[in-house]
């Protein structure tokens, strides 16, 4: 059908040919038939849904989101009580999904980059270890890895009672790991602590400006100012000085043994740890392969040219090979990030209160399956599209600027 243009008067010039062989007409016909089938399918489904809902004495609509949720969510990062609405519960779930995806993406990128470069290392042992890592995790279902951490490893950690005994023996410890999660002191910010944060932000801005100046200076004169040292000073000194000058307005709330479990402090549940570790390690194995492919996609001549210019191997990798490899790496990396976000929905299997787990609870309580699944799909598609847009922008920025 691509052969003839829609405006080609092929059918009209030769009246002996039946009208049915007119490509333009055929094209319209095919589309009308497709559209008719789709409309019929939607109509069929819609009438059935209405009948089925009527039989179950239910109505469709999103009004139920404003009714009382009545269930508790174990790890709520924004304020939430069982008296809040379903809508608020879904927000809690969305925040949890975003949090685990965010940390997962960062960890997976770092681990994947290291393992990917490690696989190409001249060091025999490191290369073999990295290969073993990739081949192990790439060929396991992510759900199994989550179960492995949750049921296999974290469940074997000390119970709360055993932990209390340990605390009695060494009372100086402030970090604890038990099968109920990881406990650490929670910071309590005193008066004026926001000034420290402002000082830190100002320091970072100054550091970025200095780095830009350093690069310009190097391009212009060949002399590179000590950017690393100055930037470290710029980032560390202002907040520390402000902190000391204000009289250290920071204290900690330590986790202490309660009646049945640890009290106070900050804690991360085993569900989050299991999901986070599994998602990062699983995705890292794919990212490692992408990084390796990207680096191998940069021709050997580039490395040799860098060595010929006298660059050290770390500089050759960082300044010559990786920037070129990035162009090959970014598109598949994007799809791995999207996969990680989508795989975070496996949280429901271990009871981490992500979007799907909270939605599933609501679905069971209210029976609003159509609405809940529509919300899931809408949110995941929006997250996917946003991530794709961001990565496309990043890709365009990194792309080869050709004359």
């Amino acid at each position: 059908m691509a052969a003839t243009d829609a405006h080609d008067p092929g059918g009209t010039e030769r009246p002996s040919v039946s009208l049915i062989y007119n490509p333009a007409l055929r094209r319209v016909l095919y589309q009308v038939v497709t559209l008719a089938i789709i409309i019929w399918a939607v109509y069929f489904a819609a009438t059935n849904v209405i009948q089925n809902l009527a039989r179950a004495n239910m109505t469709a609509g999103f009004g139920f989101l404003n009714s009382r949720a009545g269930f508790d969510v174990a790890q709520a990062l924004i304020s939430y009580t069982p008296d809040d609405t379903f809508f608020r519960a879904l927000q809690v779930g969305l925040v949890n999904t975003l949090v685990v995806s965010f940390w997962g993406i960062i960890t997976a990128t770092i681990v994947g980059l290291l393992v990917g470069i490690g696989r190409l290392s001249n060091n025999w042992l490191i290369a073999r270890l990295c290969t073993a890592y990739v081949e192990l995790f790439r060929n396991l279902p992510p759900l199994l890895v989550i179960f492995f951490w949750y049921l296999g490893v974290l469940a074997l950690l000390p119970t709360a009672r055993e932990l209390f005994q340990t605390i009695k023996d060494n009372p100086d410890k402030i970090f604890f790991l038990s099968n109920r999660g990881f406990y650490m002191p929670a910071p309590i910010f005193g008066e004026g602590f926001s000034l420290v944060v402002y000082a830190l932000i100002a320091g970072i801005v100054a550091a970025i400006c200095f780095a830009i100046y350093g690069n310009r200076r190097q391009l212009a004169t060949g002399q590179r100012p000590p950017v690393l040292l100055v930037n470290l000073a710029l980032i560390i000194l202002p907040p520390v000085l402000t902190f000391v000058a204000l009289g250290m307005p920071l204290s900690f709330d330590y986790a202490i043994p309660g009646n049945f479990n640890m009290r106070g402090g900050m804690s991360v549940g085993p569900e989050f740890i299991a999901l986070y570790l599994a998602l990062s390690l699983y995705t890292a194995s794919f990212i490692a392969e992408i990084v390796r492919g990207g680096i191998r996609g940069v021709s050997r001549g580039q490395t040799e040219a860098a060595f010929a210019l006298g660059l050290r191997s770390s500089h050759a990798m960082r300044l010559v090979v990786l920037p070129q490899a990035m162009r090959i790496i970014i598109p598949p990396l994007t799809s791995q990030y999207l996969n990680l976000i989508k795989n975070s929905s496996l949280a429901v299997a271990v009871g981490y209160a992500d979007l799907v787990a909270v939605g599933g609870t609501i679905l069971n309580q209210s029976g609003r399956s159509i609405e809940i699944i529509a919300i899931w799909m809408l949110i995941y598609v929006s997250i996917s599209l946003t991530t794709s847009l961001f990565m496309n922008w990043f890709n365009a920025k990194m792309a080869l600027v050709e004359r």
């Binding site: 059908m1 691509a2 052969a3 094209r27 095919y30 589309q31 497709t34 559209l35 789709i38 069929f44 489904a45 059935n48 849904v49 009948q51 089925n52 809902l53 039989r55 001249n122 060091n123 025999w124 042992l125 490191i126 270890l129 081949e135 192990l136 790439r138 060929n139 396991l140 279902p141 992510p142 759900l143 199994l144 179960f147 492995f148 049921l151 296999g152 490893v153 469940a155 074997l156 999207l338 989508k342 795989n343 929905s345 496996l346 429901v348 299997a349 799907v356 599933g360 679905l363 399956s369 159509i370 699944i373 899931w376 799909m377 995941y380 598609v381 996917s384 599209l385």
Partner: protein, 385 residues
Amino acid sequence: MTDQTSSFVRHDFIAPAAPPTNDATAFGWMRRNLFATPVDATLTIIAALAILWYLPPAINWLFISAVWTGADRSVCTTVVAGGIQPEGWSGACWAYVGDRFVQFMFGSYPRDQLWRPLTVLVIAVALLIPLLMPKVPRKGLNAILLLVVMPIIAFFLLLGGSFGLRYVETSLWGGLMVTLILSFVGIVISFPFGILLALGRRSQMPIMKTVCVAFIELIRGVPLITVLFMASVLLPLFLTPGNNIDKFLRALIGVSIFASAYMAEVIRGGLQAIPKGQYEAADALGLNYFHKMTFIILPQAIKLVIPGIVNTFIGMFKDTSLVTIISMYDLLGIVKASFNDPTWGTPVTPLTGLVFAGFVFWIFCFGMSRYSLFIERRLDTGHKR
């Protein structure tokens, strides 16, 4: 003009360099591959220490301390917990895997009917192996037998209810059998649908294109678990009231929808890689769209993306484990369900079961990825730039 005689000319030979030392020894190899630079040496030592620290306990846990035979949980628990093992013992409980092995493979399929899934397995393997070997002829017939005839036989044999076979409802199916059926059917159904969707996406008909793009992007944008929920919860709502659509069939539909969208993108990659000249040549020969696609474009495009298809299959195989969440019992689901069984309830049971399930999944996926590499190298002939 200045005199040039002042330039230096060497008149005598310099001493020959010493012959290269014999570096082909084990020490030479180590110097080059393990201790080339101080950083390398540090990394090597850290890695070696890590291996020495973790590997012996792992081997000990998996094999040496492991329990291989036994009838119930007592062989895998310490004396305090009512077993026979000494205090502080920990090791894999392979006796539990051995005891539950048939269940892990076939679920609750009636034990006296196990010849039925086994026959299907034999037929499938007998048809699959020649299809995978590039040198064996008659690929077309082989493919039709495997992809069309075998599923029909398998349907009647596994489900029963006709030809004098006992009816075995799908809720009794389970284990590796379900994993293999779900992924196989998913991939077989997704193949034609994937081709149609890919062609639709590249079509110039606006409505066709919009429908295909919307479907592919929607399904690829959401997690499989939401598609499975949709198939298991919404599908009965969409059909005429009072229908009773089988749960296994619902999961199959969900998996197939999901696989089709991914397959479409793989095939689209192949279609895009075919040079424009091929399309134009087919047009010049006067072939219509259907003939152009079936005889010229698709055979080349599919050949190009066989590795991608195998990768999709690996992904499907791993992803079928998600049906655990809609409470079906594939391999992972049945292993996980067996942790609650009091007969084998010990602290080491979950880890043992997961190591076993992981081993089975790993063998299948690793085998497929090796095959994909092999075929990639074999097919790496045409369209090379």
